[in-house]
């Protein structure tokens, strides 16, 4: 079964909407800011932040539900609205009980929770409820449940950095099972002191702007983003007389557990290899059917070398072009998976693979060529996009034209 991508919405450090993001990718813009350049945040590490304050984000929220303070939720609302507006015709033609929303987050309302907690630990009668009620992962779903979406099935997945990629797999499965006709899938994560400090404790940051796929890379930068895609089966879209001539489809997905360590991938790249293999198998493609690999490519020593190992395992010495966009946006955690799929979509639409920023000393990939350093026009039909998370959760999604 093929699942057409009928609507897209996203917000990140390289764009407040689809068009701005595409322009910035084409312009090789970097959204990651150094500490002295950060806007409303005051973190001491480089971050890829969205250039709107919480107040500015709240002004864009037009719902009955005004009491939302979590930045994670606010970002999700903006991206979701863009996606469903883009797919308006399809959604209008589909009854609510045939629509589902599958979202993902790891941060949830944890961007606000420390504000509650620091008062609470001094005095347990203190701490403003408004800073804690949005804490649970599923809280942001209330912003994705307005109007037409009020009665729909909503779910939330949290598998670290592969989270939103897994929502797409679940969405496809719901359609294939005949339980839904249209699914909005994706995810959201805002920057938060909890995750900033968490990654600090792991010591996998680059103190400067990150350099994914460079042999002298020292770590990642965090980012924030939200992204959603609206999917429906090819048959369903054709029945609605949608124009599918330029449609790009989710062709396959694969998820595997590396089963090695909480925060590092295995030396033999088991999980990433299996995830890509499963996706290829589901898509009915052989490795030579892939034109471009949009990598997870965070810039950590472990991820980039393991991911290249997996690429070699599958594609051998003649891999297609590959690159990472984490140097543009930073690592957006739960949103990374869906952002990867959207950037892959943009690559197909533009017939251009994205260059890896700041690739000063490319890793020796042993795949026949180094990672792409510049945006490169090429014929792109099929792209595989990877997202690998803590706990060894590895997901690959293949998208392409017919």
């Amino acid at each position: 079964m093929l699942f057409g991508i009928a609507g897209i919405g996203l917000i990140s450090s390289i764009g407040l909407c689809y068009k701005e993001t595409l322009d910035n990718l084409k312009g090789s813009s970097c959204g990651i800011r150094l500490p002295n350049q950060q806007t409303h945040y005051r973190y001491d590490v480089p971050v890829g932040d969205v250039s709107l304050s919480n107040q500015e984000l709240q002004q864009r929220v037009h719902t009955d539900n005004k009491a939302v303070h979590s930045r994670t939720a606010l970002l999700s609302y903006v991206a979701f609205q863009e996606a469903v507006t883009h797919a308006q015709t399809i959604i209008d033609a589909t009854p609510s009980d045939r629509i589902a929303v599958i979202s993902a987050t790891t941060v949830g309302g944890m961007d606000c929770s420390p504000l509650f907690y620091k008062e609470y630990i001094k005095d347990t009668s203190k701490g403003r409820l408004r800073n804690i009620v949005g804490h649970p992962c599923h809280s942001h779903l209330s912003l994705l449940s307005e109007g037409k979406f009020k009665e729909c099935y909503h779910s939330d997945i949290s598998t670290a950095c592969s989270s939103s990629a897994n929502t797409i797999a679940t969405g496809c499965r719901l359609i294939a099972a005949g339980l839904a006709d249209v699914v909005i899938c994706g995810g959201t994560d805002a920057l938060s002191s909890y995750t900033i400090d968490g990654f600090k404790s792991l010591m996998i940051y680059d103190k400067e702007l990150c350099r994914p796929l460079s042999s002298d890379r020292t770590g990642l930068n965090l980012g924030e983003a939200a992204g959603y895609i609206v999917i429906a089966s090819d048959d369903y879209l054709k029945n609605l007389k949608a124009d599918t001539s330029q449609m790009i489809y989710i062709k396959g997905d694969g998820n595997a557990c590396d089963a090695y360590h909480q925060t590092a991938l295995s030396p033999d790249a088991c999980g990433p290899t299996m995830a890509m293999q499963k996706a290829l198998s589901k898509a009915g493609l052989t490795p030579d059917g892939i034109d471009y690999i949009h990598m997870h490519g965070t810039g950590t020593a472990n991820n980039d070398s393991t991911e290249l190992h997996a690429i070699r395992n599958i594609f051998g010495a003649s891999a297609p072009s590959f690159s990472s966009t984490k140097g543009h946006t930073g690592h957006t955690l739960a949103a990374a998976g869906v952002l990867g799929v959207i950037f892959s979509y943009m690559a197909i639409e533009s017939q251009s693979a994205w260059g890896t920023l700041r690739l000063t000393s490319p890793m020796d990939s042993e795949c026949g060529h180094p990672p792409l350093s510049k945006n490169t026009p090429m014929r792109i039909n099929n792209v595989i996009s990877n997202a690998f998370g803590f706990g060894g959760n590895c997901t690959s999604i293949i998208i392409g034209k017919l």
């Binding site: 939330d156 949290s158 005949g178 400090d197 998820n255 706990g391 060894g392």
Partner: protein, 235 residues
Amino acid sequence: MKEVYIESIVTSSSENLDIKSLIPDANMRRRMTALNKCATMIGIAAIKLSNITPETIITATGYGFLNDSEKFLNDMLSSEQLSPTPFIQSTFNTVGSNVATITKNNSANITYVNGYQSFADALLDAQMRLCIDDCKAILIIAFDEVTDTVLNIAKRIDKNTQRPSNNISAVAMVITANKTERSVAHYSVGNLQQINIHQHLTIHTSELAIKLASHICDGKLDNPLADYGINVTLI
């Protein structure tokens, strides 16, 4: 979709679970908080009971590792040298990953963190995979814990909130595509839209799972999933 079968139910109240044989690595055990240990242990116990290798591991939690999150928040606020352990252990898919690592299971692994509905999401996901993905057996673990902090917050929102009888509750079960000699029930998800259960302030999604286990094993409670269109038939 065709109905699927439940077997090998293990809960946090199950006795005679030997943690050292279920989680052999002492260092791993040491780093795990009680919730993590409990949920991981009963998951592995369920696999051993069923004697089938699951082809997907699905975990479900409403609020995740509240103790680890609080520990890390405390560390952050006290500017102590930050230990990564509570941060990593507060990752929602930690239990699924632990079970996979200990049992060397590379198959699909997913975690639902959707409040009280999480366990229902897991049942739905399992049935879909068994019916259309060619899976034969799937492990589900539902788990949650309550802390004084969360109880404090819940009571401020609804002063009638009751403390659950256990701080930790967890249920593991194996779901199979076909009936086995260990099958105790079968279930099928009805209308997707009926699975809309966010309104409960109750802290534990595992409570939903515990009620299901009770319905199946003791016959004491009605099917707690009936209101959500999930049909359960005892065998």
